[in-house]
């Protein structure tokens, strides 16, 4: 019985793509980018724990041995060349070991190396988002555009997350290179989806690019990450990843609805 409940608690395979109460750690990765971020976090944590153990050992040892009772006459050593060299070189080697994977990840994240298959524009407004799918346009006026508002606090249906759900989700194909163009129409916003490892500031008068490639189908939640006014907390982002075929169907349906 206990084993069973433990199993339920720790061995569930359902992946976590939204924030949950009292969550420690990241949400499960949906893109290679997020996987890289999580791996880097674990890499760095190795050094953090090493340093923590070493420093606390020194601290406790110093307090234990060198106090008035056990050691009434203090030593007067003020200089030691060897130890000074060691404590300068060693930390810089540690920093080097942290810097290498860190920069590798950083530059792999903003590489514009592959041609994307789809461009989606996320336009921040006070306080909703507009999404434009303009790859299928044949004129400036006609465009697949929709607004994405939050579901109000007193309105969610059973199973919807409070203040995380929106009325129109961004539908994207899985396993496809996407180009997100992020820009606001009024004040600065930020388009962030933790599972995808994406946080892109929207700056007025400028359009920012971020590339994602969602690896599995699912619904991913995020929130506005740049303080944008009164309803900053009520501007969530919901990305729904579907198969490429379903995506094509969705687009053609939307195009019919709009015309």
């Amino acid at each position: 019985m206990i084993l069973r409940s433990l199993e339920c608690r720790f061995l569930t395979i359902a992946l976590c793509d939204a924030a949950e109460p009292w969550q420690l750690g990241s949400q499960d990765a949906a893109t290679p980018m997020m996987q890289g971020i999580i791996d880097l976090h674990h890499d760095i944590f190795f050094f953090l724990i090493l340093i923590l153990v070493f420093v606390s050992q020194m601290l406790v040892r110093a307090l234990w041995h060198f106090n008035e009772q056990t050691n009434p006459i203090p030593q007067r050593i003020v200089h030691g060349t060897t130890i000074e060299i060691i404590r300068t070189i060693f930390p810089s080697v540690i920093l080097l070991f942290i810097a290498i994977p860190s920069f590798a990840l950083l530059y792999s994240m903003d590489g514009v190396l592959v041609d994307p298959a789809i461009t989606i524009k996320a336009i921040g407004h006070q306080w909703y988002r507009t999404y434009e799918y303009s790859d299928y346009n044949s004129s400036d006026e006609q465009s697949l555009t929709f607004d994405s508002y939050t579901i109000p606090e007193d309105d969610p249906e059973l199973g919807q997350s409070r203040l995380l759900e929106v009325d129109n989700r961004v539908v994207v194909p899985a396993k496809t290179h996407l180009r997100m163009i992020v820009t606001p129409a009024d004040v600065p916003h930020s388009w962030a989806v933790p599972s995808s490892g994406v946080k892109c500031d929207a700056v007025p008068g400028r359009s920012n690019l971020t590339s994602i490639s969602v690896q599995r189908e699912g619904v991913y939640y995020g929130q506005c990450s740049e303080i944008c006014g009164t309803n900053h907390a009520f501007t969530p982002i919901v990305v729904e990843a579907v198969t490429l075929k379903d995506y094509a169907d969705w687009v053609s349906n939307q195009l019919i609805l709009q015309t």
Partner: protein, 169 residues
């Protein structure tokens, strides 16, 4: 014989029918020449960014792969299903082509503002040089519509009408 036809091996499934092979080869040789010419042409106009410069930005295999996959997925299901989906698709409307503006090495940064602006200017210079209906300008139109927020395009269109557009048209 019938059993074989029902369950072909993996290799058979993916191999081309024998009659088509020679035809394919004959076709294959020519595009390679054409490509090499295109590449040599491409080097020179890159320096001066005139609108008339033919930008050869071949879609990568990535995008084509994606498109191919969708086609394969369409044709894959069992015989009964294919007839149904074929009927549905016949009723169904605009064919969705999964492609967008390619990555441009003039704009490798996060900031894509200039990418959008440049594509917009390129389109209008192309139209100015080749005429309103020139088919070679269509791709620039596709690119800037993909990259620019609708609001910006509207504003720039207005500015062009008023003659206050700040770019080199």
């Amino acid at each position: 014989m019938a059993a074989e036809a029902k369950a072909p091996s993996l290799a058979e499934e993916y191999s081309l029918p024998p009659q088509e092979a020679p035809v394919e080869k004959a076709v294959e040789d020519k595009p390679q020449e054409a490509e090499s010419i295109a590449v040599t042409n491409d080097e020179t106009p890159q320096a001066d960014e005139t609108a008339t410069a033919v930008e050869v930005n071949p879609e990568t295999s990535e995008v084509q792969e994606v498109a191919d996959k969708s086609e394969v997925e369409d044709t894959n299901p069992a015989a009964e299903e294919t007839t149904e989906t074929a009927e549905e698709e016949a009723e169904e409307k605009p064919e969705i082509k999964i492609e967008t503006a390619p990555a441009d090495f003039r704009f490798p940064t996060t900031n894509q503002t200039r990418h959008c602006f440049t594509r917009y200017v390129e389109y209008h210079r192309c139209v100015a040089a080749k005429g309103e209906d020139a088919p070679e300008c269509d791709k620039f139109a596709k690119y800037y519509r993909s990259l620019c927020p609708g609001e910006w395009v509207e504003r720039w269109n207005e500015q062009r009408e008023n003659g206050t557009f700040p770019g080199p048209l």
